[in-house]
């Protein structure tokens, strides 16, 4: 965990006081909505379909139990008793009153949590692997670098009014769990042949109306040069990015239009001019940030303790263990994923009671640390294997032990028309209907890893382009319709999905998805071939033929 200092706390307290004043002036009429709107957005406050929504950043997805408990408190006291974890390592409260927002924000600020830079044309919350610091094979803890970027970019005066929002993601493991290739800047930490730590830098990825996979602009950037290089990228973007057309304003359009090579040249030229300047990081600076990350005092334990072996005789526990528990870098420990996708529930929602349960369990079994992943699930990164049976029993009692992580019912879905004022169609109930069709755990296990992503409009908040099966809500004559894509993926082999065929109605979606899955089961080369690999091998045509013949 990162330890905040007095400076961070004082800054947040001042910011809340400032916002309290702004809300007061808005309520009295001293500020008009046009004057107030940019101020509220700078604090993560949106006006949605039904109410105000507060978006809170969870830097690099890391929370401590106090912070999660405080979120539970805000959900219970100021909202309707639940919150929504998003694909950007944020949490959103959907029903918060403007009158009470300053109080809620003050409560969050006390534990170092806020909504600054979760909206607007600035560098947003830097995201990373939810297994950071715990997974074996990592080159470094990516959160150290995300934290360096967080400090650098927070209220950065030059980058507060970029042409458009800006999203940076970092991974430091061979497996990409941060979807870095679909971010404005994707950073892959690795070591070169000389053993030095550095970043592969990708620029211009993103989803939305014009989706792109990021392009390589630098294979190796010495890690200590991160800030000057990012600054060079931001400067080139700030200067050349389009401001005349919101749909062409993202850096991906700039990179696409001038080409990765030209873009890279412009960045390198800018970088040469500033790399030896104020942003050059010294080993001491990096060590200082690194030193603020406290790691658990892991006990010396052996893998597969007798308590675990005994518990594995219970089929329900064994199923959960096979699905939700992953290898830790420290022997005798494990990484646990907590599914926020119980069949039939809104994906990514957690009640205040569930948040409290997870916070308590984190204190008891996981050194007080919780992570939020872009798949809208939670994670306890540091659990002793001997404690897994007790942890599972407690999670199960709270409805948090659905063993469907990475299965067909572990669906990523944006809020869609049920909450979002930009939506064309619903997303959450589509996810619920599909999950119900695949509620049989044996069946879903037989299907294997399969990611379904749903967005309620072209903005792609549900990452539909990179779902193995992507579902995009569109509107036709006032009715909800859905376009289906196959073969997208957000991992280290990221690619965009291919359109299956004409859009179908709301009612047709679950049946169509079932047909797609049945077709896969018939066509796969063997039980080991994953859905995504069958699609890669055969293309979408055989799916299209079967699926549309049936509808």
């Amino acid at each position: 965990m990162y330890v905040y200092d007095e400076f961070d706390r004082a800054f947040l307290a001042e910011r809340v006081a400032e916002f309290r004043d702004q809300v007061g002036r808005r309520l009295s009429g001293a500020l008009s909505e046009d004057e107030f709107k940019p101020l509220r957005l700078m604090n993560g406050v949106y006006l949605q379909l039904h109410a105000y929504m507060l978006r809170i950043a969870i830097p690099y997805g890391t929370l401590n139990s106090h912070q999660l408990r405080r979120m539970a408190h805000v959900a219970r006291r100021y909202d309707r008793g639940y919150g929504h974890f998003t694909t950007r390592q944020n949490i959103q409260f959907n029903w918060i009153k403007l009158e009470e927002l300053p109080e809620a924000m003050a409560a969050l600020a006390e534990v170092g949590v806020h909504g600054i830079q979760t909206s607007g044309n600035c560098i947003r919350n830097v995201t990373t692997d939810q297994w950071a610091g715990a997974t074996p094979g990592e080159y470094d803890d990516p959160r150290i670098w995300a934290e360096i970027l967080r400090q650098y970019s927070t209220l950065h005066p030059e980058f507060t009014y970029l042409p458009r929002k800006f999203k940076i993601a970092i991974t430091a493991a061979p497996q990409d769990r941060a979807a870095i290739k679909v971010h404005d800047v994707g950073l892959r930490l690795h070591r070169n042949e000389a053993g030095e730590l550095g970043f592969e830098v990708l620029v211009g990825g993103g989803l939305g109306r014009t989706p792109f996979v990021g392009k390589l602009v630098r294979p190796f950037l010495p890690a200590r040069d991160l800030l000057s290089y990012i600054e060079a990228i931001m400067r080139v973007y700030n200067q050349y990015g389009r401001r005349d057309n919101i749909y062409k304003a993202r850096i991906k359009i700039l990179v696409h239009e001038i080409g990765a090579e030209e873009f890279s040249k412009a960045v390198e030229a800018e970088w040469e001019a500033i790399r030896e300047g104020a942003l050059k990081m010294t080993d001491e600076m990096i060590a200082e940030i690194r030193g603020r990350f406290l790691y658990p005092d892991f006990a010396t334990l052996a893998d597969n303790p007798p308590e675990l072996a005994e518990a594995l005789k219970d089929a329900r526990f064994a199923t959960w263990h096979a699905n939700s528990v992953h290898t830790h870098k420290v022997p005798g420990h494990a990484i646990v994923t907590i599914s926020l996708k119980p069949v039939g529930a809104p994906p990514g929602d957690a009640t205040a009671d569930q948040m409290d349960v997870v916070a308590d369990l984190a204190d008891r079994y996981a050194f007080g640390e919780i992570r939020v992943g872009h798949e809208q699930n939670l994670c306890l990164p540091n659990v002793a294997q001997k404690d897994l049976p007790a942890l599972w029993a407690a999670l199960d009692a709270a409805g948090l032990a659905t063993p469907n992580v990475n299965h067909v019912s572990d669906i990523i879905a944006c809020p869609g028309l049920d909450y979002c004022s930009l939506a064309n169609a619903r997303a959450i109930p589509v996810a619920q209907e599909i999950a119900k069709r695949f509620s049989d755990l044996d069946r879903s296990r037989g299907i294997g890893r399969l990611h379904i992503n749903i967005s309620g409009c072209i903005n792609a908040c549900g990452h539909h382009h990179v779902g193995h099966i992507g579902i995009l809500g569109v509107e036709k004559n006032g009715q909800e319709f859905y376009q289906i894509t196959l073969g997208g993926r957000a991992d280290e082999k990221a690619q965009l999905g291919t359109l299956l065929g004409p859009a179908v109605s709301y009612e047709q979606v679950p049946g169509l998805i079932e047909d797609v899955v049945e077709t896969y089961l018939e066509l796969r080369a063997g039980p080991q071939e994953l859905f995504i690999d069958t699609v890669a091998r055969l293309g979408v045509e055989p799916f299209k033929e079967r699926v549309y013949a049936a509808h």
Binding site: L49, Y52, T351, S421
Partner: protein
């Protein structure tokens, strides 16, 4: 279901003006006496573009009761009852279409 900003003011059927209440964001409708109500049954209903534009302009004049005003379709029942005119507006009246977490 187009976003309200994208709607042209082509009125072909009964419409009302709706917004979100400033203090808490709750969905409200413009009433005939120039106030706001949280009950669609109280909404002023008009049927021509001119009347809709006038109702909207009046609603936007002061934005300290309600914000983000726009024109929304309604359906009138034979008995004079008012229903929201499309799915988006139905969701605004009735809330999300699934059971909320509790």
């Amino acid at each position: 279901m187009a976003a309200p900003q994208q709607q042209k003011l082509k009125v072909n059927g009964p419409v009302t003006v709706t917004a979100n209440r400033l203090t808490d964001g709750a969905v409200v409708w413009r009433t005939a006496d120039g106030g706001w109500s949280a009950d669609l049954a109280d909404a002023a209903i008009v049927t021509t573009s001119d009347a809709a534009i006038a109702l909207l302009a009046a609603a936007q004049q002061r934005d300290i009761e309600a914000v983000g005003a726009y024109v929304a379709p309604v359906l009138l029942g034979e008995d004079g009852s008012v229903q929201p005119g499309n799915l988006r507006e139905r969701i605004r009246v009735a809330g999300p279409t699934f059971e909320l977490p509790h």
